[in-house]
């Protein structure tokens, strides 16, 4: 099993410095700098096309930044020498579309990477998986296939799948945007508990209530740049920039 030295607590979990990302002619990120401290919950909001998902996807290198620096627990993850698979085991990722593996049962969804990547034995992996399923309230669905779960259950299973890798931090890419309104609450509850347990989280979301209640920091992005950042209650109640004001007036 791969062990990483526990970083000193004053090293930020995620450190983004002057990050640029270009898709052909289109510049999606135009010099973004952001720090997520260990144990912090940072929510990123903004209109669609503002680059918030791209920023999140750069953090575990699902997208390759065009320029800038990116450090995870003090380690430069854009270093070409770095083993990106190893970095990713420390960063959990939750997608808008859940992306559970439809050909595997829920339990196998949770044990696959544990066994293949962390080299855990069958019993150990299943035990970790069950603990995490219990945590998200899906222990009774261990043998079900994803197609037989509701969207909310699928997303909770996907969160449990990420947690089974014992990550140091979790990235959420609009985790509730694809859900029917009545299923959003269960997923947010799981995320709230996770935040309460001290997990470092970076959450791209449209759930302003969640951001206000759980977030330590709120980042408003527009047009590839961070427009405003601060305490969620302050930013949501008294946005300073006109762009923040007009965005919030549309969504609140």
């Amino acid at each position: 099993m791969t062990e990483f030295p526990t970083p000193p607590t004053d090293v930020p979990a995620i450190e983004v410095v002057d990050l640029y990302k270009r898709f052909g002619e289109l510049e999606v990120l135009k010099g973004v700098s952001l720090t997520v401290k260990a144990g912090q919950v940072v929510c990123v909001i903004g209109p669609s096309g503002s680059g918030k998902s791209t920023l999140l996807r750069c953090v575990n290198r699902l997208e390759e930044p065009t320029a800038g620096q990116l450090r995870v627990e003090g380690i430069d993850i854009l270093d070409p020498e770095i083993d990106v698979d190893k970095v990713r085991t420390r960063i959990g990722m939750v997608f808008q579309q859940f992306n559970l593996f439809p050909h595997l049962s829920v339990l196998r969804n949770l044990t696959l990477a544990q066994r293949r990547v962390l080299g855990r034995g069958k019993e150990e992996a299943a035990e970790v998986a069950r603990q995490n399923l219990e945590r998200v309230g899906l222990l009774d669905k261990a043998d079900a296939y994803p197609a037989h779960l509701s969207g909310g259950q699928q997303q909770r299973a996907a969160i449990a799948r990420s947690l089974s890798m014992n990550p140091d931090m979790m990235l959420f890419d609009e985790p509730t945007s694809a859900l029917d309104p009545e299923l959003v609450g269960d997923v947010l509850d799981v995320m709230r508990n996770l935040a309460g347990s001290g997990m470092t989280m970076m959450v791209v979301t449209h759930e302003m209530g969640f951001a206000r209640e759980v977030g330590d920091d709120l980042v408003f992005m527009d047009d590839g740049m961070i427009v405003e950042e601060g305490n969620p209650r302050d930013v949501l109640a008294n946005p300073r920039h006109t762009r923040t004001q007009s965005f919030l007036s549309k969504v609140l």
Partner: protein
């Protein structure tokens, strides 16, 4: 009201043309000679049991060998074609274009006669075995395109989820992408199997010993011995006996796929 009468009239005329055509063919045919040429019960009896124990058995055996060989080759070619490394991609594209562009008969012929000379290797089943290599080469080219389409049919998020969990590109392919790709391509692969059953008949060009004859070679030889077409009709029946259930299976699988989406 007038429109429905006109539609009825048109349907009636089309039915009449159909019935008239069938009747004309039935009347024009010389049934006596047909029966003599293709329905000699004595000759049919003499084909047993070899037509089953050798010919039909070999047809199925060669089909299965060509299918499995083509599948493995097809997976390799599909992965090469999707590779980020240029030369692999070009090689796979060139291969697929070459063997899809050539008549299968020509490839089988070339393998049956060139391969044993060129490499001085002895293939099981002799020349037919070498011809079978040709059939595998062709099947691989066709299946590669099917498999590639299947791989690309798996949503991108699946690979992203697997990679986000720290899985390597190859593990992602083997345990997440390929199982889902195969689920998508079971119907077209079954179709490929049916095509291969019929294509084994091309192996007649490779020349056979008694033990390696498949259905077409066997019945063509029998036809020239008796100077009678009855064995060919038997071969046709046997081919249909194998292929029709399989094409029905494809239809069922496709319907089930459509419903599960």
């Amino acid at each position: 009201m007038r429109r429905t009468t006109r539609r009825r009239l048109r349907r009636g005329i089309l039915y009449a043309i159909f019935v008239a055509f069938v009747a004309l063919v039935a009347l024009a045919a010389d049934w006596g000679r047909l029966r003599q040429q293709f329905l000699q019960i004595d000759i049919a009896r003499e084909q047993f049991p070899e037509i089953i124990t050798i010919a039909a058995k070999n047809t199925l055996l060669f089909t299965v060998v060509a299918f499995i060989g083509g599948l493995i080759l097809g997976i390799v070619l599909a992965l090469m074609k999707l590779s980020t490394i240029g030369p692999y991609r070009w090689l796979a594209t060139g291969y697929i274009e070459l063997f899809r562009g050539l008549p299968a008969l020509l490839t089988i012929f070339a393998m049956a006669y060139v391969l044993p000379i060129a490499l001085e290797i002895r293939v099981p089943f002799g020349q037919v075995g070498a011809g079978l290599v040709g059939l595998i080469l062709v099947a691989g080219a066709y299946m590669a395109e099917t498999i590639r389409a299947g791989i690309q049919g798996v949503p991108k998020g699946q690979a992203e989820a697997a990679r986000s969990l720290g899985m390597s590109p190859s593990w992602t392919m083997v345990s997440v992408i390929l199982p889902q790709a195969f689920r998508i391509i079971v119907p077209p692969l079954t179709n490929e199997f049916v095509l291969l059953i019929k294509d084994t008949s091309l192996l007649f060009i490779a020349g056979s010993t008694i033990q390696t004859k498949e259905l077409t070679t066997f019945t063509r030889d029998a036809q020239s011995v008796y100077f009678n077409g009855t064995p060919l009709l038997m071969a046709a029946m046997l081919y249909l006996f194998i292929t029709i259930p399989l094409t029905r299976l494809v239809a069922v699988l496709e319907r089930r796929m459509a419903r599960s989406r």
